[in-house]
């Protein structure tokens, strides 16, 4: 630090400490004003929470019996709480906003706010048929259904006036299918903890300042250079326009923004930590799971009889250590992505974002204590062999996650996710736009994954249900909770799990491209994907569904 920086910092400290209060507004507001870009009146924010991996959502927003007249056939593994000591699960419903919703929504976060308050501004489209198998193709269908056209975030970014193009967090087929014609995108891997620094570092160009921190001569020099270039290449030259645009993004010092980000991150981390340590609402106290030990191991003919105790393809839950296993778990980069997204939206830096998983593994809980659990080899060797890894992650793609861990882990994840969404929504509500609305009114949050799941008969995991995709939308412009879409009831063998059924209004099932069209319709960009049906529309200032069907139709799941 040189002498000038010391004097400036000292002056600012005196101001901020209240010794020179008459200057405080100048210092603070200068920081605020300097890096604030108003949302263009034609732009609309789009944030996609892409749960790549396809986690179970029947306890969350895959509404299987939304109305009393909808037939619901219970099935193994489809539950939101434990029913008895053996680990059977059940899915119970409560009434909220005129719909039957999983009782999860009746729980309250530590702040006292009931989860169902989120439903006030939500529309869920269920029973969407993705029609392809596999994760990569499944998610690409949602994000970029036509491979010759831009992806959803790409088309929004191309039509936007925000300073930065789309910001895509994570690295998996969903994020890698990002494509835009014009503006490119900013892909932010989740391998470093400071996401904001990764995004803003390119725009840091420290410069000597005057004592009062006024804009330095850098801007003057560059603007004069750009004027010369305008005279030669024309002011409409795309490259020159971008140079000019990038000049607005440069900052002298990233530290104040990193401090702001760190403070917001801490809040999200605290929300997750305080809401995921208890399991009220899961009836975990009812569980008296069998303990897998040498004596009962010899009685067991097949490992499948322990299906519901499965953790992953090579490990089983010992029995009594479920809470211990989850006590150390965390939600990875979820708080970081929320904190960064909040910063970027509130400062108007980007209007198209995707939050997703760090890699193809699509885990949703990390750092689960695995000591004491049992290796699959124990069944073969007929003796207890402890699991090797001390700590594991639990994947959203639960092919090998049995009922017990599946239910508890999903419960924990959504208990952490909902308070984050609540905070995010409330923070956006605090920001007013030029038209007198709130930023939440001008934002569409899209919660999706590739598909729902099909429970296995042995309860040792679940498979992909590519005939069932659920998309939930949150926005301040959604004034009423609505659930739309038809699903099949299933039968005794495989009950109601959300498999798509025809929608009379469209004379066909709903497909992924219809979700793409719907988002484009709301955000106000022309969808390049042909022959898709919009599922959402504007009616005045309100977003409503374009159709009103909500049936559980007789048929096999």
């Amino acid at each position: 630090m040189n002498r000038r920086d010391l004097i400036v910092k000292g002056f600012k400290s005196l101001v901020l400490a209240g010794v020179l209060p008459q200057f405080s507004a100048c210092i603070r507001s200068e920081l605020e004003k300097d890096y604030l870009f108003s949302l263009n009146e034609n732009d609309f924010n789009f944030v996609q929470l892409n749960l790549y991996g396809g986690p179970v959502r029947w306890m969350f927003d895959n509404f299987l019996k939304p109305k009393d007249e909808n037939e619901f056939v219970p099935t193994k593994m489809v539950g939101g709480r434990f029913k008895n000591s053996d680990g059977d699960v059940e899915l119970n419903f409560i009434k909220r906003y005129g719909y039957n919703v999983p009782e999860f929504w009746g729980l309250k976060s530590k702040s006292g706010l009931e989860h169902s308050s989120l439903l006030e501004n939500m529309i869920t489209i269920r029973g969407v048929n993705i029609n392809v198998s596999g994760h990569p193709l499944g998610i690409i269908k949602t994000v970029r259904p036509d491979s010759t056209k831009p992806s959803l975030q790409g088309v929004i970014s191309d039509n936007s006036k925000s300073p930065l193009p789309s910001v895509i967090f994570g690295s998996n087929p969903a994020t890698r299918s990002y494509f835009s014609n014009e503006r490119g995108g900013l892909q932010v891997p989740l391998n470093e903890s400071n996401l904001l620094k990764q995004i803003l570092n390119p725009f840091v160009m420290a410069e000597e300042k005057s004592l009062f921190g006024k804009k330095n001569k850098k801007d003057k020099i560059i603007k004069s250079v750009l004027e010369n270039l305008d005279g030669v290449y024309g002011s409409e030259d795309k490259y020159l326009k971008e140079l000019r645009g990038s000049l607005d993004l440069f900052i002298d010092n990233l530290d104040p923004y990193l401090e702001e980000y760190a403070s917001v991150l801490e809040k999200y981390e605290k929300l997750i930590s305080e809401n995921t340590k208890e399991f009220d609402g899961l009836s975990i106290d009812k569980l008296k799971l069998r303990e897998l030990n040498t004596s009962n191991l010899k009685e067991i003919e097949k490992e499948e009889s322990w299906g519901r105790y499965k953790i992953d393809y090579q490990t089983y839950l010992r029995g009594s250590n479920l809470e211990e296993m989850l006590a150390s778990a965390d939600m990875g980069h979820i708080p970081h992505q929320f904190a960064c997204t909040e910063f970027l939206l509130k400062r108007g830096l980007s209007n198209s974002l995707m939050l997703s998983t760090p890699n193809e593994m699509g885990s949703f809980l990390y750092g689960c204590n695995n000591t004491g659990n049992i290796s699959q080899k124990s069944f073969e060797k007929k003796k207890i062999i402890p699991a090797k890894e001390k700590s594991i992650s639990i994947q959203m793609d639960s092919h090998h996650t049995g009922t017990v861990l599946q239910t508890a882990a999903s419960f924990m994840f959504y208990r952490g996710l909902v308070p984050c969404l609540d905070r995010f929504k409330n923070e956006l509500k605090k920001v007013k736009t030029k038209e007198g609305k709130t930023l939440f009114d001008k934002t569409l949050i899209h919660i999706c994954s590739e598909f729902e799941r099909i429970p296995r008969d042995d309860e040792a995991g679940s498979e992909h249900n590519h005939s069932s995709h659920t998309s939930s939308f949150l926005s301040g412009s959604i004034k009423k909770f609505k659930v739309c879409g038809n699903i099949k009831t299933g039968n005794k063998e495989l009950g109601t799990i959300g498999t798509s059924a025809n929608v009379d209004h469209f004379k066909r099932e709903i497909f992924a491209k219809d979700i793409y069209q719907s988002v484009c319709d709301i955000v106000g960009v022309k969808s390049p994907v042909p022959r898709a049906k919009g599922l959402l529309k504007w009616e005045g200032d309100e977003i409503i569904p374009t159709f009103d069907e909500l049936k559980n139709v007789k048929g096999e799941s």
């Binding site: 193009p165 503006r183 490119g184 850098k218 270039l229 005279g231 490259y239 140079l243 990038s246």
Partner: protein, 184 residues
């Protein structure tokens, strides 16, 4: 017969929207910006070898925004952290092999070139070869050895009588940011 004729006329109209959506022009004209290897090499030639570490940090290592794929198999490690041919670099590793050959201009690429050029032209010491009389011609020859900058040179020649360091640096920055040398 008339009905058949009307139907045949209307048939293309019925599919016109799909046709419009599914076809595009066969020729599209747009600037092709050079990848990071070209930009780095040119800037090193202009500003000297001493600028190479700055260019690496602010531009070359950035990633897919600035384009320029590299072949990771060009690197041969003879010890775990020593590459056989240190002149061949592939920052970004395997994913960098998928960087586009000719990046499209975008705000991120623009911010990187702006920062790089500003650091090199304004904040660093002025290279000796550009000092003194005739600096405009020297700068022009460095960035445009085969011409193509006639309009830019003409625009700047009016101010080139000022031989102060600030004026020379501003000219250097103007040339560095000009798109002509960056496009292929």
């Amino acid at each position: 017969m008339i009905k058949v004729l009307v139907f045949m006329v209307m048939l293309p109209v019925l599919f016109a929207q799909d046709y419009e959506e599914n076809t595009s022009t066969s020729v599209v004209k747009e600037k092709r910006f050079a990848g990071r290897q070209f930009i780095k090499n040119t800037l090193i030639e202009v500003f000297g070898e001493s600028s190479s570490s700055l260019i690496n940090e602010t531009y070359f290592k950035v990633g897919k925004q600035v384009g320029g794929p590299c072949d990771i198999y060009e690197q041969v490690y003879y010890e775990h952290d020593k590459i056989l041919n240190p002149n061949v670099e592939c920052p970004g590793g395997k994913p960098a092999s998928k960087n586009s050959l000719f990046p499209k201009t975008n705000i991120l690429r623009s911010s990187h070139i702006l920062k790089t050029c500003y650091e090199l032209s304004i904040k660093k010491d002025l290279p000796k070869k550009f000092q003194g009389e005739g600096y405009l011609k020297k700068i022009s020859n460095s960035f445009y050895p085969f011409g193509g900058d006639e309009k830019l040179k003409k625009k700047l020649s009016k101010k080139s009588s000022n031989r102060g360091e600030e004026a020379i640096k501003n000219t250097l920055l103007t040339y560095c940011l000009s798109p002509g040398w960056q496009t292929l």
